[in-house]
């Protein structure tokens, strides 16, 4: 195992070769795309499924069944469809975010107290306005918590995906440093970076939870 100074030396080494920034950017790029795509698709879909009882009945078993399949088990299929590269990694992150977000959205709708929906209907809102003015604000707090947790999962999966399915990024750095000459100082340097960035992502999402108009549910509990 490397000493702390060895790790600092490793970090300096990485920076001077320009690899540090390159790998961090590569990992963040994949997470951003996979996470964003999953959010764009899963949230509206989940809200719709949650709204209609029959749809929830129809899709719930399927979702429960697909969810526990480790996103990494999709690696062979990702490589088959998208080859070794960014697309594969993005696909894996997309998958790992999709199901948690879908479930969060479904549950968020189902947890809206019926009074709010009834009050909204009572004031004669059109269906579109009902979605925008009641459904959406009522689910936002839960969605934000779900997004934060899911971003954590995405960060976990990108590292794993990069160890297998691509040849850049922080996950790749770790396997590569080990395979190409047992540079354990670089391995630990990579881990430290992964931890730091994960922490920053979490802090960023938590600050969203503090936005005043999102905060109503936290302040009541």
């Amino acid at each position: 195992m490397p000493s702390p100074w060895g790790v600092v030396g490793g970090l300096v080494d990485l920076t001077s070769h320009g690899l540090l920034v390159k790998y961090v950017v590569a990992s963040l790029f994949r997470v951003t795309w996979g996470f964003t795509l999953a959010a764009i698709l899963a949230i509206p879909l989940g809200l719709t499924i949650g709204w209609y009882r029959r749809a929830e009945m129809a899709f719930n078993p399927l979702i429960q069944f697909l969810r526990p399949i480790s996103p990494l088990a999709w690696i062979p299929i990702a490589i088959l469809w998208f080859g070794v590269g960014d697309l594969s990694a993005i696909f894996l992150i997309f998958l790992s975010c999709f199901f948690p977000l879908l479930l969060t959205a479904i549950n968020a709708v189902r947890n809206i107290p019926a009074v709010y929906i009834n009050a909204g209907r009572n004031f004669g809102l059109s269906p579109g306005a009902l979605v925008y003015r009641v459904l959406y604000p009522a689910v936002v707090p839960q969605l934000i918590v779900g997004l934060r947790i899911t971003l954590g999962i995405a960060w976990l999966v990108v590292v794993a995906a990069e160890m297998i399915a691509v040849n850049s990024g922080l996950g790749f750095l770790i396997v590569d440093a080990r395979n190409a000459g047992n540079r354990y100082d670089l391995v630990v340097a990579g881990m430290v970076l992964i931890g730091l960035i994960g922490l920053l992502l979490d802090i960023g999402m938590r600050s969203l939870e503090k936005v005043k108009s999102f905060r109503w549910s936290y302040s009541e509990e």
């Binding site: 009834n118 009050a119 009572n122 004669g124 604000p137 009522a138 108009s213 302040s219 009541e220």
Partner: protein, 262 residues
């Protein structure tokens, strides 16, 4: 008419609402459970009617049917001669459970139903109703920063702001302390006398019913029926020590079968 009870509104005013042969049953664990049985009711325009009955007799259910949130198993509700098919902003329901939106400020809640107005007009109305329910200075507060009574007043203000011609209030003052409740009753009467809305008010408090209503519809325990309709022929403001008041109150106590227990 098979029911022995006088269900018609005071003949001098036109009928606003007519509920005919309303029955409702819920299924629970595969069994059908009757909650309301053959309810017939007429409410006159501008009338204040109280629905009074023991807990669980189906008052909220009946009010939800009248407001169009539930459809009855059989029977129909007509308002202004039209069959009720769903909720309508001309008739606002004030919910027994708190219905104010926690994600909107006081102003946002009062303005919730005013989306068709211009901004200036909306702001004017919001200010007017904030003042009317005594929430001045709390316009920018969120419901979590208000007391229970303030939230309840806020919900009444939100309902009044859209200028509905009917108000359905489901035990609106149930969760308030007794002093606030008295004040709120006075406020509601003042608003009702000023704007002459038709009000159906659900309560299980006999005094509240006798103090507020033109007529009190007394419901029996489940399955709920309308047992009797009592005319409260005392002009406002009512003297709660007057002989007539006590007589009517005792009459309703008897009607519910409680007189000998107290």
């Amino acid at each position: 008419m098979e029911s022995t009870v006088a269900i018609t509104a005071t003949p001098t005013v036109e009928t606003k609402l007519r509920a005919e042969h309303i029955s409702m049953s819920f299924t629970r664990d595969g069994e059908s459970m009757p909650v309301l049985e053959d309810i017939n009711l007429e409410v006159g325009n501008g009338e204040f009617l109280c629905l009074l009955g023991p807990s669980g007799c189906g008052k909220s259910t009946l009010l939800s049917i009248i407001a169009g949130f539930l459809s009855p198993t059989s029977g129909e509700v007509k308002i202004d001669g039209e069959i009720v098919r769903g909720p309508d902003p001309r008739r606002i329901f004030v919910f027994q459970e708190r219905g104010v939106f926690p994600w909107l400020t006081v102003e946002g809640n009062i303005g919730f139903g005013l989306f068709k107005l211009t901004r200036a007009e909306r702001d004017r109305r919001i200010a007017h109703y904030i003042k009317m329910v005594g929430l001045e200075g709390f316009g920018k507060s969120y419901p979590s920063e208000l007391s229970g009574g303030m939230k309840q007043r806020l919900e009444v203000a939100r309902a009044l702001a859209v200028n509905p011609d009917m108000l359905f209030l489901d035990e609106p003052f149930g969760a308030l302390d007794s002093i606030t409740r008295l004040i709120m009753r006075g406020e509601l009467l003042r608003i009702w006398e000023a704007e002459r809305k038709t009000i159906i008010f659900v309560t299980h408090d006999i005094d509240e019913a006798v103090q507020l209503a033109d007529r009190v519809a007394v419901m029996s325990a489940r399955p709920g029926r309308i047992q009797e309709i009592v005319n409260i022929d005392i002009p406002h403001p009512r003297d709660i020590n007057s002989a007539r008041y006590l007589e009517l109150r005792t009459g309703i106590f008897n009607q519910i079968g409680l007189a000998h227990h107290l």
